[in-house]
């Protein structure tokens, strides 16, 4: 009790100095909390953009080289390669063979944008040391065309994407980032069913609801499949170009564009998740060694493709903000140390008397450390409050950030590729201008996490103890006789 009484009275005696030190520490700590929150918010916003590209639960995606529509003999999974309008009518050409199309008929060409992996590849990835789970996906591009009823007019149509998802690993699929707004998602029992989940934007533009029907693969010589819509999903706005239709993987694999047996077991995307965030680089390396001709993409590599103010904000908070906080903290620590040493010097006579009374040096040091610690704790409390206020101010006044996600990225052996980027184009392979880069608004919500609060408290307490340590050093060197001889 004597310890606390002495401590309390002493802090009250030099209240102004104690408040000055406390506020200095609070300012440094508050800046650390605010910068950390801003940085975390910017990084979280950026991560939100990235995770929307291929799902929340996926750390690594693997894609093969792009399939060039128009190269005969290299299309393993089929696909019409062209519609030719001539004097005799309209011809569908597929793998070098052409058939006549009827006027007024609607046809679809279905093809994958990327080269295929076998199911063995998926299994091999899943068995890698640092991979906790892996699943395949089959991304298909569908070009739906309506054949004109009169010759001389070209076909009209639209593109849509079909994503075959592993219903047993939905957490690894692009559906994991979305929110179901009508109906429900796939269950494991839907693995072989002709059911579909439709993107909310696509559903709105094509007047689709739960229970509606979608036909995929309608072409001469191709067995079309009618899918029933069981759910409508809204993908994050940060997703550059969400897929239009999601169907069970096995059903996507069964779609064909030419007579013959279905190409089962093949995928053109592999989604993997690492055992921990620290293992992602190792997983990327292992998969690259296993599949050397394919592109292995992580969030970090995708991050390099995302541009815009969200990236600038993350960089600003991380670099400039961090150094500013460090400088302010150093200044606060220095001021606290100087003021504490000055206070100890002024109290030299008092400490000399305590030594004369038989107080051990460490007892006196504990008293001074206690005073400094009290100021540090008060500084931490005020600093955390300032940090919360700073984060709230940033959330209120910060301008809306933007992220620009490339619409098409040419995959390379070492570069990044985006699942959402596929070579959509006309039946002759032209690029669809609708897949240009996409800019989305990203809200900034700076979070003040428990970890940051703990860091702030530790920093403030450390500052207080550092100041007390300097004072203690001064006390330890104090000779009682000299101290008592000082003029009061």
């Amino acid at each position: 009790m004597f310890f606390y009484t002495y401590l309390r009275r002493e802090l009250r005696r030099r209240m102004r100095q104690a408040i000055f030190i406390t506020l200095g520490l609070a300012l440094g700590v508050g800046l650390v909390v605010t910068v950390a929150a801003a940085s975390a918010g910017a990084n979280r916003a950026q991560s939100g953009v990235l995770s929307a590209l291929y799902g929340v639960g996926t750390n690594v995606t693997v894609t093969g080289p792009p399939v060039m529509i128009g190269r005969f003999g290299q299309v393993k999974m089929g696909g019409l390669t062209g519609i030719q309008v001539n004097a005799t009518g309209v011809d569908f050409c597929h793998n070098g063979k052409c058939e006549k199309a009827s006027a007024g008929q609607s046809v679809q060409s279905v093809g994958p944008p990327y080269s295929a992996f076998s199911s063995a590849d998926v299994t091999a990835v899943a068995r890698l040391h640092d991979v906790s789970a892996a699943a395949g996906g089959l991304l298909l591009s569908v070009n739906a065309q309506s054949i004109p009823t009169t010759s001389g007019s070209g076909p009209s149509g639209f593109f849509f994407s079909v994503d075959g998802v592993d219903t047993g690993h939905l957490a690894l699929s692009p559906l994991s980032a979305g929110t179901i707004i009508s109906g429900h998602l796939f269950t494991a029992a839907d693995a072989g069913a002709d059911v579909a989940v439709v993107d909310s934007g696509y559903a709105a533009s094509h007047h689709l609801t739960v229970g509606s029907a979608i036909t995929i693969g309608n072409a001469p010589g191709v067995t079309s499949v009618r899918f029933t819509v069981i759910g409508i999903v809204r993908q994050p706005t940060a997703a550059s170009t969400p897929d239009d239709v999601y169907i069970p993987l096995a059903r996507a694999q069964a779609l064909q564009t030419a007579p013959g047996p279905a190409e089962t077991g093949e995928v053109d995307m592999i989604y993997a998740t690492a055992a921990s965030a620290a293992d992602i680089p190792a997983v990327q390396h292992e998969i690259a060694a296993l599949l050397p001709h394919d592109t292995v993409t992580t969030q970090a590599s995708l991050a390099g493709e995302v541009t815009g103010s969200v990236k600038s904000a993350a960089s600003l908070a991380s670099d400039l903000g961090r150094w500013l906080a460090v400088l302010v903290l150093i200044a606060a620590f220095a001021v606290a140390c100087l003021l504490t040493v000055a206070a100890v010097t002024r109290r030299a006579r008092e400490f000399g008397m305590l030594k004369a009374l038989g107080w051990r040096t460490r007892r006196i040091v504990a008293q001074v450390l206690g005073e400094s610690l009290a100021m540090g704790i008060a500084g931490a409390a005020v600093g955390v409050g300032l940090g919360f206020a700073g984060a709230a101010i940033i959330a209120t006044i910060a301008p809306t950030l933007h992220a620009t996600v490339p619409g098409f990225i040419a995959p390379t052996l070492s570069g990044a590729s985006s699942k959402a980027a596929m070579p959509r184009g006309g039946l002759n392979g032209e690029l669809d201008p609708a897949t240009a880069s996409h800019t989305v608004a990203v809200p900034l919500h700076p979070p003040v996490t428990a970890g940051v609060i703990v860091l702030a408290v530790v920093l403030a307490v450390a500052g207080g103890l550092l100041a007390g340590g300097f004072g203690s050093w001064r006390i330890a060197r104090l000779r009682p006789a000299s101290a008592l001889a000082l003029v009061a």
């Binding site: 009790m1 004597f2 009484t5 002495y6 009275r9 002493e10 009250r12 005696r13 006579r349 008092e350 008397m353 305590l354 030594k355 004369a356 009374l357 038989g358 107080w359 051990r360 040096t361 007892r363 000779r479 009682p480 006789a481 008592l484 001889a485 009061a488």
Partner: protein, 228 residues
């Protein structure tokens, strides 16, 4: 009680060596009251510091009940001061943020006494100096004489064997000075303390059993006093 043999204390001031005490031989018996006079700067306070273990001699030895103060480790010296030696200073040296009772209590902290015991002993000590009604007052709320009484209570609360008083009445008016000296004398007699008192005042010095005079670091003992 005390045995000083060939005690010398030198101070270094820049490049100069200043002798404060030179070749001092002295024996102070148990329960003796020794007054030390002398002009300012002749070594009186240095002698008191050496007797209290607040400083160490450059040469010679100082023994307190057979224990050499000059060679004792700092922690043991601190412990010895806590248990056996009480100090009274001219400027009182009370802690300004603590009340009279808490200042007295500060002397008991190093002894590890419990809170209840400390409070009881503090009450007795303040009562002995007639300040029981001022226990909660801060030093700034006390007169000079009252502050010195608190300092006396602080010195005596631990039941020391030795009390070292350095100009205890130096900052007090004449009437208060007489009161303080009378109080010290009473307590000395009642408790059988060994009292070493430094003073400029010859009238006060004459009340001691023995009087010494410090001149340029040398101590000369005068045998005449009122309490022989």
């Amino acid at each position: 009680m005390y045995q000083l043999t060939g005690v010398t204390k030198l101070y270094q001031k820049s490049r100069r060596t200043v002798p404060a005490v030179i070749g001092l031989d002295l024996v102070i018996g148990d329960g003796e009251w020794l007054a030390v006079q002398g002009r300012t700067g002749h070594g009186k306070s240095t002698l008191l510091n050496l007797l209290g273990g607040l400083d160490r001699p450059t040469e010679g030895s100082i023994e307190l009940d057979g224990t050499g103060l000059g060679t004792l480790r700092e922690t043991r010296l601190t412990r010895l001061r806590a248990e056996k030696i009480g100090f009274i200073f001219q400027t009182f040296n009370l802690i300004p943020t603590l009340s009279a009772a808490e200042n007295v209590e500060a002397a008991l902290i190093p002894l590890g006494a419990g809170q209840a015991e400390r409070r009881a002993r503090v009450a007795v000590a303040l009562d002995a100096v007639a300040l029981a009604d001022r226990a909660a007052h801060l030093p700034t709320e006390l007169s000079g004489g009252q502050q010195q009484r608190v300092a006396i209570a602080r010195a005596l609360v631990k039941d020391p064997q030795v009390v070292l008083a350095n100009e205890p009445t130096g900052n007090l008016d004449e009437d208060t000075r007489d009161d303080i000296i009378a109080l010290l004398e009473t307590l000395w007699r009642e408790r059988g303390l060994t009292l070493v008192l430094v003073t400029h005042d010859t009238a006060i010095a004459r009340r001691a059993q023995r009087t010494g005079v410090m001149t340029n670091g040398h101590l000369t003992i005068r045998q005449d006093s009122a309490n022989r």
